[in-house]
Symmetry: C2
Subunit: 246 residues, 2 copies
């Protein structure tokens, strides 16, 4: 059974400060829990309904390092940071970030992205298009925020993350840098590329002007209707689908 101290610990992981202290985060929901368990990523706690534990017996054997706790639905919901009831919650350890900037293939650079749903959705997009790295500027929403982990649908398991000064990255890399802007080159007429960095800005303020200056290309999704802008994650998906050459 989970002790009060353990419940307190798991709940504390809703806050970035405590996540950083223990280098751990929450991964919730049946599907996401299964994805995590089927890898070798280190897990410290598996908290789930009795029926779920029974059903996933084989997966659990993959993780002898984890403590397993059977829990009732009401208690699980009280620990969860999600609104709807789930059947399983894991505490996983954060992998060490890579030591060097991505220098080949495609990566996504995020400038002060704020919304956890957008961050998670962009991780899922990277995961879909086979983009191996996401570089986050300071002041982005934490990639281990429970809502981000939820929206990324297991993307954390296949995408690498780095927090860094984007100016420094752009000065160091020879990859083409594509800034998503409102008045750039028509995306539909842009050349596809085998590698590059896609630079996406803050939801309401867009990109920091200095970063746009460092970009080698500025691309825009042509607009045919009345909307002022597109959602940041939708724009990321559309640009990836047009620019990445596989």
């Amino acid at each position: 059974m989970l002790s009060k101290a353990q419940i307190k610990y798991i709940k504390s992981l809703r806050t970035q400060k405590y996540r950083l202290e223990s280098r751990a985060f929450i991964a919730e929901g049946e599907k996401i829990a299964c994805e995590w368990l089927s890898t070798k990523e280190p897990i410290t706690h598996i908290v789930a309904l009795e029926s779920w534990l029974r059903q996933h017996d084989t997966l659990l054997k993959n993780h002898p390092e984890a403590s397993i706790y059977e829990i009732d639905e009401a208690t699980l919901l009280s620990i969860s940071s999600l609104k709807s009831s789930q059947s399983a919650l894991l505490v996983a350890k954060m992998p060490k970030p890579p030591l060097i900037f991505p220098q080949n293939g495609w990566s996504i650079a995020l400038d002060r992205l704020q919304d956890p749903g957008n961050m998670g959705t962009i991780i899922r997009i990277a995961d879909w298009f086979g983009i191996s790295s996401i570089v986050c500027s300071p002041h982005c929403v934490d990639i281990y925020n429970p809502k981000v982990v939820q929206a990324a649908m297991g993307g954390h398991l296949r995408v690498q993350f780095l927090e860094a000064d984007l100016e420094k990255y752009f000065e160091e890399t020879s990859l083409p840098i594509y800034a998503a802007v409102l008045n750039g080159e028509n995306l539909y007429q842009s050349q596809k590329s085998k590698d590059g960095v896609l630079l996406i800005g803050n939801e309401s303020q867009g990109l920091t002007p200095n970063l746009v200056k460092l970009a080698t290309n500025r691309v825009s999704i042509p607009r045919f209707g009345g909307a002022e802008s597109l959602n940041a994650a939708v724009a990321t998906g559309i640009i990836c689908s047009h620019l990445i050459q596989h």
Copy 2:
């Protein structure tokens, strides 16, 4: 000043039942309020901070039909269905839905779409690409849910909505119907079209098999990484950007 009864009325509009009863809904946030006020759409209540009212004096004159209420920040936040504090909230009247199904140009058909963020984002995508109509099956999230209105960023003002049995629509229309599925024709090799219906399914269950049967085309976004699927709104954006011929 807003009376207690008026506060109760505005709060009641968080619920679909009361929205339908009064054929009214909430549009919140500075930007969205300005978009609404700059149209001739009927508004019954304008509730805002004194500074905001002063600043938007000219816009307010567009709407002599509306009652204007000055409010303090704390009270506005307590009425609001959003988490962050805003400076303005409107109560607007729902327009009458069109009497006939869209029969030319592009429309989007949604099969039991559940998430308000996705619905709002899809409305914003339709608005960006100049898609004039969205047809919702029964059991979609209500398009006048405050979170939908927020995420649509004014898209309600330019996109028409219809709730209908999609089978009936598909049997009646001669437009090509493109179902977004996981194992269909490669989107990147699909012919663009000047008109059509893009059919998008429920976030976890996908499309109703009968609807897929009625579709003339089944399209898929090629996958190059490990993700099982893309977010519904992101998929909508990507397909629109590849299929719509302008």
